[in-house]
C-alpha cells in the first residue's frame, strides 16, 4: 500500500509513547477498495503547508462501542496511524478473583463480557470445577450448552445490528433488537436477570428448565430462524453494505495469528478452527455443526469486514442447530452436582479455554488450597482482538476505521476487565 507522499511532520507525542515504538509488521495488509482512492495523489503544491490532525476518537464517541479511546493521526480523511487507549472500564475482575471465594467470583465474571454473560459463567465455572475436581451432571451440561448457545445467538444479533448502526443503517439494529428482546426475556425467565444471569453455578446450573420455558425457547428459535433472511436483506445483500465492507479492514491469517485474534475474526480469515469443535469442552463433542469460515466463494476478500459479518450470520444458524440437537438429546437427571460446602481446591493450576461469541475466553487459575484463587487470570478475547486495529486501520479512510472496529465486535467490559 502506498502511503501518500507528504512532507512529514513529527508526531505530537514522542514515538516511544505510541505502543512502545513501532511493532514489527511482517506484512502490511493490502486494503482493497481504498486502492482506487490512493491512485489519486493529493494535489499539494510546494508552498502549501499541510498538517496531520491528531484526533481523539472516544472515550465518548458513538462508534467506539463503549469507552474505547483511539488516538488517530489522520491526513484529512486518511488514517495514518492510531493508538487505542483502554482502561476506562477497568473493574479489577482479576484482583477480585483473588480476594473473594470462588462462588462469589462468578457474578463478577458475568460482568466481563456483559453481552455474553452465560458463556463467561460457563467457562469460569468449568475452570473452578476442574480445579476442585467437581463432576457436573449430564443434564446440567446440556442446560449450559443450551443457554450458552442462546447467548451466542443474542450476542451475534447484537453485533450484527450494531454493525449496521456503525455503517449508518439504523433499522436493522432495531429489527435485531426485537428478537434479542425476546431472547433476553427468555434468559431472564430462567435465571432472573436480563443481562447478567448468574445462572450457571459451580457444579451445575441454578435450576432446571420448565416446560413453559422450553415452549418459549422454541418460539424464540423459530422467530430467529424466520427473521434471519430479513436481516440479510437489509445488510448482507445490500449493495451499499457490500461497498462499505468488502475489502475493508482485511485481517489475514498471519495477522490474526500474530496478534492472537480469535473467534469470528479468525474464522473469517479462513482458519477453520472453533474451540467447540476442535478442543471440545462440556458436551460440545456430541453435536453436529459446521464451522463457517471465510473463503473466496462469497463477496469480499478473505478476512475483511464483510466476511466477518457473514461468519456471524452463519454462526447464528449453527447455534440454532446446536440448541435443537441439545434439546433432543437432553437426558433426565439432576442439574446440580455434589459441591462441597467449603470449596478449597488443592494447590495446582488450570487453564480452560472456551469459545465465546467474540473469541476464545480462557481462564488461567492458580489455586493454593484456600477458598480463594491465588491467581485468576482471564483472557478476554476482545482484548487481543482490538489490539490488531493499530495494524489494520493504517492508511484507510476514517469511515473504514469505524467499519473495522465495528466488525471486530469488541466489548469494552472484557477488554478492560
Amino acid at each position: 500500500m502506498s502511503e501518500p507522499t507528504r512532507p512529514t511532520i513529527p508526531a505530537a507525542r514522542p514515538p516511544s509513547l505510541v505502543s512502545g515504538g513501532e511493532p514489527h509488521h511482517a506484512s502490511v495488509t493490502p486494503v482493497g477498495g481504498v486502492a482506487e482512492v490512493h491512485e489519486q495523489q493529493p494535489l499539494v503544491g510546494q508552498d502549501l503547508r499541510t498538517e496531520e490532525l491528531v484526533f481523539n476518537m472516544g472515550p465518548q464517541h458513538p462508534a467506539t462501542h463503549g469507552v474505547l479511546r483511539v488516538v488517530i493521526k489522520s491526513d484529512g480523511e486518511f488514517v495514518q496511524g492510531l493508538q487505542p487507549h483502554i482502561g476506562n472500564l477497568h473493574r479489577c475482575c482479576e484482583k477480585i478473583g483473588e480476594s473473594v471465594p470462588y462462588y462469589q467470583w462468578i457474578p463478577y465474571v458475568d460482568r466481563m463480557d456483559y453481552l455474553a454473560a452465560m458463556c463467561n459463567e460457563h467457562i469460569a465455572c468449568m475452570a473452578v470445577e476442574k480445579a476442585a475436581g467437581i463432576e457436573v451432571p449430564e443434564r446440567a451440561e446440556y442446560c449450559r450448552v443450551i443457554v450458552a448457545e442462546v447467548q451466542r445467538i443474542l450476542s451475534h444479533l447484537f453485533a450484527m445490528g450494531v454493525y449496521g448502526l456503525d455503517l449508518g443503517a439504523f433499522t436493522p439494529f432495531l429489527h435485531q433488537f426485537r428478537e434479542r428482546e425476546k431472547g433476553l426475556d427468555l434468559l431472564d425467565h430462567i435465571s432472573g436477570g436480563r443481562l447478567l444471569y448468574h445462572y450457571v453455578r459451580i457444579g451445575g446450573v441454578k435450576r432446571d428448565f420448565t416446560q413453559e420455558w422450553l415452549d418459549e425457547l422454541e418460539a424464540f428459535l423459530a422467530a430467529v430462524e424466520q427473521r434471519l433472511p430479513e436481516y440479510n436483506t437489509l445488510l448482507l445483500s445490500n449493495h451499499i453494505f457490500q461497498q462499505r465492507t468488502a475489502g475493508v479492514g482485511v485481517i489475514d491469517r498471519s495477522a490474526c495469528v500474530r496478534w492472537g485474534v480469535t473467534g469470528p475474526a479468525l474464522r473469517a480469515a479462513g482458519v477453520d478452527f472453533d474451540v467447540r469443535r476442535d478442543a471440545p469442552y462440556g458436551v460440545y463433542d456430541r453435536f453436529e455443526f459446521a464451522v463457517p469460515h471465510g473463503h473466496s466463494g462469497i463477496a469480499g476478500v478473505v478476512g475483511d469486514c464483510f466476511q466477518r459479518h457473514w461468519v456471524r450470520t452463519q454462526e447464528v444458524e449453527q447455534s440454532l442447530r446446536i440448541v435443537r440437537q441439545a434439546l433432543k438429546q437432553m437426558p433426565q437427571g439432576p442439574v446440580m452436582g455434589k459441591v462441597p460446602k467449603s470449596l478449597k481446591p488443592v494447590a495446582g493450576e488450570v487453564y480452560v479455554r472456551g469459545e465465546n461469541p467474540r473469541g476464545e475466553l480462557a481462564v488461567y487459575m492458580v489455586t493454593q488450597g484456600e477458598d480463594k484463587a491465588w491467581r485468576a487470570r482471564c483472557r478476554g478475547p476482545s482484548f487481543s482482538n482490538i489490539a490488531v486495529i493499530t495494524e489494520t486501520a493504517k492508511g484507510t479512510l476514517l469511515a473504514d476505521l469505524v467499519a473495522a472496529i465495528g466488525s471486530l465486535d469488541i466489548v469494552l467490559g472484557e477488554v478492560d476487565r
Binding site: G87, A131, S384
Partner: protein, 202 residues
C-alpha cells in the same frame, strides 16, 4: 523452589502425559540444551519452565518448528509468589500459553475427556524471575499480540519487559502507585486528592 505448584490432587497417571507438551519438551531439550529448568508433563496443567535467558530462543523454536508450530501467543499471565516462609525465594512467574492453529486437533485428545484431564492442545511455558528485579525479555517481535499482554503484566504485576523500549501502562493511569496484583499491594486512600472510597461511603 518449594512453592512450585504440584499437579492436581489426584496424581497424574503416566497415561495422561500430554502429547503436545511432551513433544515441545523433547524439542527444547534436544535443540536448546540447558534452557529447560523444570517441567511437568502430565496432569491437567502441564508446563515447561525455561531459563530467562533462553526464553526467546525457546519460544521462537516452538513457534517455527514444524513439529509444534505454536504460532499464537494466547495469553501471558504473571503470578506473584512472595516468600511465605523463611528461606523461600520471592519470585514472579510469567506464564506463556501458546496455541497452534496449524496442527490439526490431536486424535489422542479425543480419549482424554473428563474434568481432571487436559483436553486441548496448548503449551504453557513459564519463567521465574526474582521479585526485586523482575526483568523478562520481551517477545513482542515474535508474537505481535504479546504487546498488550506484556503491558498488562507490567501494569498489574510490575514485570519489566526488556528489549522493547519504554513499556507504558495499559489499564491504570501512568502515575498509579504500585502494582495491584502483587500480594503485598495495599489500596491507596486517594489518587491525586480524589478519595478512592468517598467519606460518605459509596
Amino acid at each position: 523452589m518449594s512453592t512450585t505448584p504440584s499437579p492436581a490432587g489426584t496424581p497424574a497417571p503416566a497415561a495422561l502425559v500430554d502429547p503436545v507438551t511432551e513433544r515441545a519438551h523433547a524439542l527444547l531439550a534436544a535443540r536448546l540444551p540447558g534452557v529447560v529448568q523444570a517441567q511437568e508433563l502430565g496432569g491437567r496443567h502441564p508446563w515447561i519452565r525455561v531459563s530467562v535467558t533462553g526464553l526467546r530462543d525457546a519460544l521462537r523454536l516452538l513457534r517455527d518448528d514444524p513439529s509444534t508450530q505454536l504460532e499464537c501467543c494466547h495469553l501471558i499471565s504473571g503470578v506473584d509468589w512472595p516468600a511465605r516462609k523463611p528461606g523461600d525465594k520471592a519470585e514472579l512467574e510469567v506464564v506463556y500459553h501458546l496455541v497452534s492453529y496449524a496442527l490439526p486437533y490431536d486424535a489422542a485428545y479425543k480419549a482424554r475427556r473428563g474434568p481432571q484431564a487436559k483436553n486441548d492442545p496448548w503449551v504453557a511455558i513459564k519463567v521465574r524471575v526474582p521479585r526485586e528485579a523482575p526483568e523478562v525479555p520481551s517477545v513482542m517481535d515474535l508474537f505481535t499480540g504479546a504487546d498488550w499482554h506484556e503491558r498488562e503484566t507490567y501494569d498489574l504485576l510490575g514485570v519489566r519487559f526488556t528489549g522493547r523500549g519504554f513499556v507504558p501502562r495499559i489499564l491504570l493511569p501512568e502515575d498509579w502507585p504500585g502494582y495491584p496484583l502483587r500480594k503485598d499491594w495495599e489500596t491507596p486512600t486517594d489518587y491525586h486528592g480524589i478519595p478512592i472510597v468517598p467519606p460518605e461511603g459509596l
